[in-house]
């Protein structure tokens, strides 16, 4: 048993951390957001060279993972990007790359995958008009038409929609889920930028008005969506874990240094116990994330359960931790200048995406109910 990263993955971590420290630290993202420019495409391409978008792409299409566990590799990357609150659409671009690699036609693979791997194409992924993976929600409807497949409706809360060259749209087709590739810009597709809670990331709304794509743009149905949610949940959890980890470290450092009433704040027992709880929380976030990555990569029987576990636990722990960190920072944490609110915003903004915690818990209960009915019978 080695429930930890391999040496190669450690090396990957170091190289990514070095790159981010030098080129893309949080301070750079901060400057960008004050200037209203969020994602620096040049830096994103540099990141792609380090493999940010390559792990789930086969080598023949210029991709390649570090180990035989590409999602575990991605966890390393995502943790590091999370530590800097990197604005990049790591989740959606990898989700789309994975979907094309697994479910796409050869032509789609050779058209898109190398350009995604090189960071030239930002690919994004849309769900319903409510941002949920909910077929019952209003969203985008597709019909088979003469020219192929025609899309109508709106998808919201789509990461980096404004800049993207490609969207994998989740639509309703014949009453079932379908995932459709749409290159952007495209006739009948309008993209509007959202004003968001998370200042380090940019989201958008995509409106399809009779947008027609070839019939083979439909990559598949529920199986594509399910896989996408698994991949997204793992990456999102890892980004959250990295962000939680650095914020926790910064909080401990602050409390160790800062003096109040003649003592460092970190010497007060009530504060110490809360920090102990946060340490536990970070460790649990890590663990839930790593296990989900491993279970999906290895196709463990409990992979779906592991995804639901991470998908429900991690975002709420992350939001709790950022809130505690803000509170423990006191007045300084309430200011615009301090970074802690960027973490608070990120955590709350991430929390409901690609399946809310309550949605994952409902799934988990269904699995548990089915499994324990057997166990107790």
């Amino acid at each position: 048993m080695n429930f930890d990263f391999d040496d190669d993955q450690q090396l990957l971590r170091e190289s990514v951390r070095r790159f981010l420290d030098e080129r893309y630290p949080l301070s750079v993202t901060r400057e960008a957001l004050e200037a209203d420019v969020v994602l620096d495409r040049e830096l994103w391409r540099r990141g792609a060279e380090l493999g940010w978008t390559a792990m789930l792409i086969p080598e023949q299409h210029e991709g390649g993972s570090i180990t035989s566990q590409p999602l575990v590799d991605l966890v390393v990357l995502a943790e590091e990007l999370g530590r800097t609150l990197n604005p990049g659409p790591l989740v959606s671009t990898n989700v789309v790359a994975d979907a094309i690699a697994r479910f796409g036609l050869d032509e789609q693979r050779s058209t898109w995958l190398p350009r995604i791997a090189r960071g030239e194409v930002i690919a994004t992924w849309s769900l319903s008009a409510e941002g949920t993976p909910d077929l019952e929600a209003p969203g985008v409807d597709a019909v088979v038409s003469e020219g192929g497949v025609t899309l109508n409706g709106t998808a919201r809360y789509v990461h980096e929609a404004v800049g993207a060259e490609l969207v994998l749209a989740t639509v309703r087709l014949d009453g079932k889920a379908a995932c459709v590739l749409v290159p952007l810009p495209h006739d009948g597709v309008r993209v509007r930028r959202h004003t968001g809670l998370d200042l380090t990331r940019r989201f958008g709304e995509i409106t399809f008005t009779g947008a027609t794509v070839p019939a083979d743009s439909v990559l598949g149905g529920a199986e594509v969506l399910e896989r996408a949610i698994s991949v997204a949940t793992v990456i999102k959890s890892a980004e959250a874990t990295g962000a939680a980890e650095i914020l926790f470290e910064r909080t401990v450092d602050y409390l160790r240094d800062r003096v109040q009433f003649g003592r460092t704040i970190g010497s007060y027992q009530a504060i110490k116990h809360r920090l102990a709880d946060l340490l536990i929380e970070v460790e649990a976030m890590r663990t839930a994330t790593y296990y989900a990555a491993l279970a999906v990569d290895e196709g463990f029987e409990d992979a779906a359960e592991a995804v639901a576990t991470a998908g429900s636990y991690v975002p709420e722990a992350f939001a709790h931790l950022t809130g505690e960190s803000l509170q423990l920072h006191g007045g300084i944490g309430f200011t615009w200048e301090h970074d802690v609110h960027l973490f608070v915003r990120r955590s709350k903004s991430d929390e409901p995406l690609f399946g809310e915690p309550s949605w994952h818990r409902e799934n988990l209960f269904e699995m548990l109910d089915a499994a324990t009915l057997g166990e107790s019978a």
């Binding site: 998370d198 009433f261 809130g323 944490g333 309430f334 200011t335 915003r345 709350k348």
Partner: protein
């Protein structure tokens, strides 16, 4: 046991109607947007409009108890506060807490110099109580006033002051020396234009600028500006706070309960309204219970104040109860929205124009400002329960 607050009788309907007409005619068209909490205009233009608005209210003959020599008709006062409150914009410009202090403890000169001008919007005040290490725990105040002839020389720092960036005067608490009594704290009227005052507006995590830090470097204040007597600052502050007690956040928390219920009703998941989801119903009902208890706790505290039986935990308890309930509700208000919670004020897709998102961010002002809830819990356990005080590191 008696807790009754009577309904406003129907004969006040006419007063209400004429007031509504007045509001319709004079309510100012501000850039400033109504949000949760104490929010201060960012534009000079808005401040000017608010001064005019206060003047119009005054000139129309509407007088608030806090500015009046004799209490007004209580039902008229209630209608006045209700209708003006419903506009969502301030009807008293600045922080008028000092009015109660001046009315109770001020000299005739102080009364005539300040009460009228405040009611007419001519004077904007700020409150200068909280300090970085003390919050509202007056016993820990560190701002000093050294007596030098007939002036105090003030040095120190205040935080969490709303309106300071627009204020003409400040209601200052300082530890005066030589210390004239227990506590040795004195309440002073401060001319905000005095040399040595530096005001640093803080941009908060909400993106707005509602609070200020205020620094004093040898600021001179005439002894004539003492409210009450030197060393009576604690008494003066407590009395003026008591006149405003219970108000903060009382309706705010119930309003949020109502917002959550609305939100649940109008949001669906998996094809079902969240208003029909057991977990949502249980959670909102739990908040509702705590919000109602907040009202009743406020009445217990009021009763103790009326019976001169205030305890060391009354104020901290109310602060903790409201601020943590408020925060939890707003966190939940984001959760209930699902992905929609990620868009904020100004986005056409935002629920209620992002009110809950802003309120969620602002919620930490209540848990941190005016003495963090951690300091409040120290107060309760040390002063309320008599447990040993935390050792100071410098002891």
């Amino acid at each position: 046991m008696d807790i009754t607050t009577s309904e406003v009788p129907p004969q006040y309907d006419e007063f209400r109607k004429s007031l509504q007409a007045f509001i319709g005619a004079h309510c100012p068209p501000l850039e400033w947007k109504a949000r949760t909490g104490i929010r201060v205009p960012e534009e000079e233009h808005d401040v000017a409009l608010l001064r005019q608005w206060a003047r119009a209210i005054h000139d129309a003959g509407y007088v608030f108890d806090r500015f009046a020599d004799t209490p007004g008709d209580p039902y008229e006062q209630r209608v006045l506060e209700e209708e003006l409150g419903a506009t969502g914009i301030p009807y008293v410009v600045g922080n008028a807490l000092v009015a109660g202090a001046i009315k109770m403890f001020g000299t005739p000169e102080q009364r005539s110099a300040h009460i009228g001008p405040m009611s007419r919007g001519e004077q904007i005040w700020t409150q200068l109580f909280s300090e970085p290490n003390a919050g509202s725990d007056l016993a820990s105040l560190q701002t000093k006033g050294r007596l030098d002839g007939d002036e105090y020389i003030i040095n120190g720092q205040k935080v969490w002051s709303t309106w300071a960036q627009w204020a003409d005067h400040g209601y200052l608490l300082a530890r005066t020396e030589p210390s004239p009594g227990p506590g040795g704290i004195t309440a002073l009227i401060l001319d905000m234009k005095s040399p040595g005052i530096e005001i640093r507006p803080l941009r908060e995590m909400t993106g707005t600028t509602d609070f200020n830090e205020v620094f004093f470097d040898d600021v001179r204040v005439p002894v004539a500006n003492v409210i009450g007597a030197p060393g009576e600052g604690w008494k003066v502050a407590s009395a003026s706070l008591a006149t405003e007690r219970g108000g903060v956040g009382r309706n705010l928390s119930w309003e949020t309960v109502v917002r959550l219920a609305d939100l649940a009703r109008t949001t669906s998941r998996r094809g079902t309204s969240l208003g029909d989801d057991g977990s949502v119903r249980q959670q909102i009902a739990a908040f509702a219970a705590r919000s109602r208890i907040q009202d009743h706790l406020g009445k217990r505290v009021e009763t103790r104040a009326e019976n001169q039986a205030v305890t060391a935990w009354d104020a901290p308890l109310m602060k903790i109860w409201f601020s943590e309930l408020n925060l939890e509700m707003l966190e939940y208000g984001l959760d209930l929205q699902g992905p929609r919670s990620i868009v904020a004020e100004g986005d056409e897709a935002a629920y209620d124009d992002g009110f809950l998102q802003d309120a969620f961010l602002y919620a930490r002002a209540w848990t941190i400002a005016g003495g963090s809830n951690e300091v409040m819990r120290n107060l309760i356990s040390e002063r309320g329960l008599g447990l040993p005080r935390e050792p100071r590191g410098d002891a």
